[in-house]
């Protein structure tokens, strides 16, 4: 079969809340098995060491933490609906979301696609508990239950339109789901598939069944292939993987954990009993997977076995594998099973194994198998060509193959063969046409922008901290990290963006933003609607030597377009604008250079923004600024504009000096009379109701200035070489017009707010006539800008070497212009790539979705895995009391907040009380019966005294080490206090006491026995 890539993983297993913790636990040979949580059922009531009818022989199992936590607000599920949902649905929903993010894709990007969902599940205990109380069956309960809904809910909430189904083949369910997902991908039913498995134990029923069938381990632990193997321990878990056809994953630059080379599923058929494992079918399914993958047994380095730790099951599995491997050359095949760590996760067992194998191939080491040191000699593993993983197995570099078995109780068997990810899958070769990557030119802002989105500010803060921790933990190149965040962390209302030059700075910045509300408000936004971006092109006077030189040096993207403009200008300028800028030449203040230089800078900025996917909705250019705006609006090509602007500057420079410009703080109407008296002075610009610029002969301007000063009107001389937009320009008009005629100019294809006309151009060409008139006519910025603001832009972006127009616009803002953001890609003379990145960040916050690929050079466009979304765990949904042995009065949905849990985890549940369906757990208090007993009272008092607790904070269920924080010194003291209080007690030693110190109740029980025997 064609290879299928595992590109995303998320999971929660006993002792491991996420994939990273899962791997750590496997490498530590950790134990995820613990006492049955009080929230599930009362394990003592169902416990019988001898396995009496209706009882289980164990009080332990592998249970996941926080099965009741669900971020219903994230998925916009009402608390009532969430409370009615099978926790398996809730867990899967969060897990699937995180797995998709882990694959480097924002889940929202999959919306509407044919992505398929395949869920393996065999536990329906929620429905058994809730759907049998017919009077209380609600609409929510209906959609909250049933296998189908586990898969369908993922499809619904992520808006996925491919196949969506749940599979129950008992314990092989989730590997069969993976098999179906692979087949659907290969049949091109879908391009992405989410394969998952889930299992949450809510009743003791299966444990009782295992006990009654003689399959249950008394300590609740599977010990695969061990001499100590004594049966199954139940386990839980939820896991999801995102699958792609390998070629697609590589083409999309996704990181690949491992590759599925072949899968197979078969059935025992009419074998020796419906629940008995069948050696022949097992070896056949393994062989079928090998055949499908085209792999020889000797090529398989290791296999994650089903390995339930029942003597018979282990034996049959070993023989089945031995059939294929006993004759192999080289080292025996290594086997192990994760069931030793987490128990038998039943419906989730297959996905637990798959994730373990994928991570092993990814990390190039297979964890040791727990309990392997004491191998069962009866299995004769060596003779079967097998060996047990007693120590981690380091895998060779280069391709390695690992297998995975999962067998169902009813006889449906599955096997999968996985291979390490191909080397080139990690990073596509630069310029490799096979990779589907075509280089459309230099890209990169010079600094990356880390982005994060969340549905609420609180969620944003939580996730900022999670990312900060992860970023700080390991050094990674910041560019790829930012690029990956742009791809995977988008789609929610609150949009955060922060430019970052290195990971240390990034981690600190994320942390600060999470802690400081004002900062967070600056770095994030919640745009109400679609952004409408206005580009404002700055006019003369804004130029300075070396303008944008830093940006040019740092940003390949900007460099590309400034070079382009320079190339277009060079034939006409007789020198390089770029060189003038980079060398800091003062010549840029001479209008012959000023005009082409500003044009080049503005063209390059605008082209960069356009390349970045910023779609301008409105354009405005102040005087010469209109040239670059016109190129952007398709009025004429860059080369023609370059020729015309150069000629404009050169002709103006040729004019005799002696002209000047005067800015006056007064409305035009107050000045017309004065201007009319001076034939050599005209109105250069009307920038606003109180901002007029007069232009013309210097002597005449001086006369006007004196007059105005006399009236108390503020004026300011502008530093210009010539009197632009004045009658003094007249001598150049004919020559310019001749060239302009040659070049022409069309109707702008984008809305241009003309500063010549003072309004939006309506199907009017910006032609020779326009540009000629433009030279001496006043610049009607105030009018044009007012019209532009009325059109409702969300962002005013200053396209020029410093913010001028955005500042002038501020005084013009009326009600229509309120709430408009101003953005300056070049905020000051020191501006660099980081400032440009900040401008792009600001646009992102405001709702613009940049084409982030253009913000990074190719070598930085490499996927990095980011920690997936951290869901809120403050909302808890567990709408029933724990299962009791005595027929309970009420098995329906109850909304009491009575405490039935042993572990005090109330600290996580602060926000819970608002919902009726949410229970709050508290530390259990001492029962009446205990207080009555003198030994119990003495022990509780002693424990309370040593630990510094109030006596009512200590109960029989309190765990000395875990709940009460006892240490060995406190134990010494406890012994003395107990001895003091129980005078009838013979001398006890610490050694005697140590094994009895799990819970206060255990200790009481032990001491009661001792006192009883002392009395007797």
């Amino acid at each position: 079969m064609k290879p299928v890539a595992i590109v995303g993983i998320d999971c929660r297993f006993p002792g491991a809340p996420d994939a990273g913790a899962y791997w750590d636990m496997l490498m530590r040979s950790g134990d995820g098995v613990d006492k049955v949580p009080g929230q599930r059922w009362n394990a003592r009531e169902f416990h019988s060491p001898t396995g009496e009818d209706g009882h289980s022989n164990t009080t332990e199992g592998g249970f996941i933490s926080d099965p009741d936590a669900f971020d219903n607000e994230f998925f916009t599920v009402s608390p009532r609906e969430a409370a009615a949902m099978d926790p398996q649905q809730r867990l899967l929903l969060q897990c699937a979301w995180r797995a998709v993010e882990d694959s480097g894709v924002a889940p929202q990007r999959l919306a509407g696609t044919d992505t398929g969902v395949f869920v393996g599940i065999m536990g329906n205990e929620w429905a058994q508990l809730h759907m049998t109380d017919y009077a209380r069956v609600t609409a929510q309960l209906g959609s909250g239950n049933g296998y189908c809904m586990t898969a369908n809910r993922i499809s619904y909430h992520l808006d996925l339109k491919g196949p969506s189904l749940a599979v129950d083949t008992a314990c092989s369910s989730s590997l069969v789901a993976v098999h179906l997902a692979c087949n659907a991908l290969l049949a091109e039913e879908c391009d992405t598939a989410i394969a998952a498995g889930v299992n949450v134990a809510l009743t003791p029923a299966l444990g009782i069944f295992y006990t009654q069938a003689g399959l249950s381990s008394p300590d609740g632990r599977c010990k695969p292939f061990s001499a100590d193997a004594d049966g199954i321990g139940r386990g839980e878990g939820v896991g999801a993987v995102v699958l792609r056809r390998l070629e697609d994953a590589i083409a999309d630059g996704q990181q690949v954990y491992a590759v599925i080379r072949g899968t197979a599923v078969n059935q025992d058929g009419r074998s020796n009993g419906i629940t008995a494992p069948n050696r022949w079918s097992q070896q056949e399914v393994v062989a079928a997977a090998y055949r499908r993958a085209g792999v020889e047994p000797s090529e398989v380095a290791f296999t994650e076995a089903h390995g339930t730790g029942t003597v018979l099951g282990d034996m049959i599995e070993v023989k089945a594998l031995g059939h294929l491997h006993s004759g192999r050359s080289g080292r025996p095949m290594a086997i192990g099973s994760v069931k030793g760590n987490i128990g038998h996760a039943e419906g989730a067992a297959g996905i637990a194994g798959l994730i373990k194998v994928a991570l092993s191939l990814h990390h190039k080491v297979v964890p040791a198998s727990r309990f392997a040191a004491k191998e069962n000699p009866a299995l004769k593993l060596a003779k079967q060509g097998l060996r047990l993983l007693k120590a981690p197995l380091r895998l060779r570099s280069g391709p390695t193959i690992g297998g995975l078995s999962s067998f169902g109780m009813g006889g449906t068997n599955a096997h999968a063969l996985l291979e390490s990810a191909p080397a080139h899958a990690v990073r596509p070769e630069a310029g490799d046409p096979e990779s589907g990557h075509t280089d459309s030119g230099a890209a990169g802002l010079g600094t990356g922008v880390f982005t994060l989105t969340a549905p609420s500010l609180e969620a944003l803060r939580r996730n900022l901290l999670v990312q900060a921790d992860a970023v700080q933990r390991r050094r990674t190149p910041v560019g790829p990290l930012c690029w990956s965040s742009n791809r995977a962390k988008t789609g929610h209302r609150h949009r955060f963006a922060l430019p970052a030059a290195d990971t240390g700075e990034l981690a600190a910045g994320l942390r600060e933003a999470a802690a400081d509300d004002d900062l967070l408000a600056r770095l994030s936004d919640r745009p109400a609607g679609k952004p409408r971006v206005a580009l404002l092109f700055t006019g003369q006077g804004s130029q300075y030597p070396a303008m944008t030189a830093r940006l040019y040096r740092q940003s390949p993207l900007y460099r590309r377009f400034l070079d382009e403009a320079d190339t277009a200008l060079a034939p006409h300028t007789g020198g390089s604008v770029r060189e003038k800028l980079l060398s800091g030449d003062e010549a840029v203040h001479r209008t012959g250079w000023t005009q082409p230089a500003l044009f080049a800078v503005e063209y390059a900025l605008a082209a960069s923004l356009t390349e970045l996917g910023v779609r301008p909705a409105l354009l405005l250019g102040h005087s010469v600024g209109e040239y670059a705006a016109a190129v952007l609006a398709g009025v004429f090509p860059l080369q023609d504009a370059a020729r015309l602007i150069t000629a404009r500057g050169a002709l103006m420079e040729e004019l005799p000096e002696g002209g000047g410009m005067l800015a006056v703080r007064a409305p035009l109407t107050e000045l017309t009379e004065l201007v009319d008296t001076e034939p050599l002075v005209g109105v250069g610009a009307v920038n606003g109701p109180q901002a007029t610029v007069l232009s013309g002969d210097l002597a005449a301007l001086e006369r006007i200035e004196d007059e105005l000063r006399g009236r108390g009107v503020k004026t300011r001389r502008l530093e210009v070489s010539h009197a632009f937009h004045s009658p003094l320009m007249t001598p150049m008009l004919d020559r310019f017009a001749a060239l302009a005629d040659e070049i022409g100019g069309g109707v702008p294809t984008l809305p241009v707010y003309s500063t010549l006309r003072g309004r939006l151009l309506e199907a009017e060409p910006m032609d020779a006539k326009y540009w000629t008139e433009h030279i001496s006519a006043p610049v009607l910025f105030g009018d044009a800008m007012t019209r532009l603001l009325e059109a409702g832009p969300t962002h005013l972006v200053e396209v020029g070497p410093r913010p001028v127009l955005t500042r002038m616009a501020r005084t013009l803002r009326t009600v229509a212009g309120e709430g408009v953001h101003t953005v300056a890609p070049v905020p000051d003379e020191e501006a660099d790539g980081r400032a440009f990145a900040e401008a792009v960040a600001a646009l992102f916050r405001g709702g613009v979705d940049p084409n982030w690929d253009k913000a990074y050079p190719e070598e930085e466009r490499v996927a990095q895995r980011l920690v997936p979304y951290a869901f809120s765990d403050t909302q808890r949904f567990w709408t029933r009391t724990p299962v009791r042995a005595v027929a309970p009065a009420d098995l329906g949905v109850v909304t009491d907040d009575a405490a039935h849990t042993v572990r005090p985890y109330a600290q996580k549940q602060s926000a819970a009380s608002g919902h009726g369906a949410v229970r709050t757990a508290v530390l259990p208090s001492a029962g009446e019966d205990q207080a009555a007993d003198p030994v119990a009272r003495a022990v509780i008092e002693a424990v309370a005294e040593v630990g510094g607790y109030a006596p009512d904070e200590v109960s029989a269920l309190s765990l000395l080490y875990e709940d009460l924080g006892f240490d060995s010194v406190m134990v010494m003291e406890l012994k003395d206090r107990i001895q003091e209080r129980l005078s009838g007690l013979e001398e006890i030693s610490v050694q005697d006491l140590l094994p009895r110190l799990s819970s206060v109740g255990d200790l009481v029980g032990y001491l009661q026995d001792r006192t009883d025997s002392a009395v007797a």
Binding site: D24, M27, R28, S29, K390, A391, R394, R396, S968
Partner: protein, 347 residues
């Protein structure tokens, strides 16, 4: 972890002699309890170490031996035991976590005291795994063709942090344990390319960092002029993590060595288990589960003196091992979780 190839015989190094040095008289729990105000029964039950040696006088606080002194004494004994002349020593490798100075490296003072000159010296900064790392480097040097014999040393002087002025009656166990767990000492072995002296073939050495992303289980801080008055604990340990992880790691080390060498558990005559404390070592040894192997331990009598331990165990081993017999040593450094161990065969 397991690797496919085995060391072929030409690259086998040998141990020709072993020497050790423990400072002063053993200090028992009664004396320690008296001096430090610690509960004696607590030491017995929770630490299980009976005696230890200190380079610092427990009453006067006076420092009587430096690390260099102890290491040189052990080195001299090892040389004598090996039958090699000092001028046959081509290099000195030393592992320690508690050098006398940051500079010069203590190994050079040791060479000086032993009259060695014009040879390469190496000092490996490491905790309990340092002795094994030194052995591995020594083996590499004598099997690489360039050298024929070298001195490999491990030692630690933990009593630098034994603050005798402190009142420990209210101290938490995590603090207390630092006063009762450790001891001082040094050990050395002569490594040769050919079998000489005691003729112990070093069949395999394991030395592997496994602490990616894990908090250290043990930290020994050092202080300079700028931070000498900082209020930080000089020695910190995460005993929960150590108790949980070290036994598991020890089993994995054992099996990796066995499988690499293709030895069966029954073929191991002597086991040198990790020497954390009397109590922990007993627990770990049970889990290593080599009922046919004779345990060689020292920590209950010597205290945990870090890099000296494997040499003290080697010294004990030499009293018992006969030709053709095999021994396996396992050591775990819980600072940044280093797995180490080695396999020996007397020929």
């Amino acid at each position: 972890m397991q690797s496919p190839e085995q060391a072929s015989s030409p690259s086998v190094a040998h141990l020709a002699g072993v020497g050790t040095a423990l400072p002063g008289d053993p200090v028992d729990n009664a004396m320690l309890a008296r001096t430090l105000g610690v509960n004696e029964e607590w030491i017995d039950v929770f630490i299980g170490t009976r005696t230890r040696h200190f380079a610092r006088d427990l009453v006067s606080g006076e420092v009587r031996w430096s690390l260099a002194d102890l290491c040189a004494r052990a080195g001299e004994q090892a040389l004598t035991a090996s039958g090699l002349a000092p001028d046959e020593i081509d290099f000195v490798v030393m592992g320690t976590a508690t050098p006398d100075h940051l500079m010069p490296a203590t190994v050079n003072h040791v060479a000086d005291q032993l009259g060695l000159d014009q040879i390469p010296t190496y000092q490996l900064q490491s905790g309990c795994a340092g002795a094994v790392q030194a052995l591995e480097l020594g083996r590499t040097l004598v099997t690489g063709g360039g050298h024929r014999a070298g001195l490999v040393i491990g030692g630690d002087v933990c009593s630098k942090h034994l603050d005798l002025d402190r009142d420990l009656s209210g101290a938490a166990p995590s603090d207390l344990v630092n006063y009762v767990l450790f001891g001082d000492g040094a050990g050395a072995a002569v490594v040769t390319s050919e079998a000489r002296g005691e003729r112990l073939a070093l069949r395999g050495v394991l030395n592997r960092f496994t602490g990616l992303g894990r908090e250290p289980g043990q930290v020994i801080d050092w202080f300079g002029l700028a931070d000498r008055y900082d209020d930080r604990q000089a020695v910190r340990e995460d005993y929960k993590a150590i108790e949980e992880s070290v036994p598991v790691m020890a089993v994995e080390i054992l099996w990796e060595l066995l499988e690499d060498l293709d030895w069966s558990p029954e073929q191991v005559d002597f086991l040198l288990p990790p020497q954390l404390s009397g109590r922990m070592t007993r627990r770990i040894t049970e889990q290593l589960d080599l009922p046919d192997a004779v345990e060689v331990s020292c920590v209950a009598d010597t205290g945990n003196n870090g890099n000296a331990l494997p040499f003290l165990q080697l010294e004990g081993l030499l009293e018992k091992i006969g030709p053709g017999q095999r021994a396996l040593a396992v050591a775990v450094e819980s600072s940044k979780w280093i797995k180490s161990g080695f396999a020996l065969e007397k020929i």
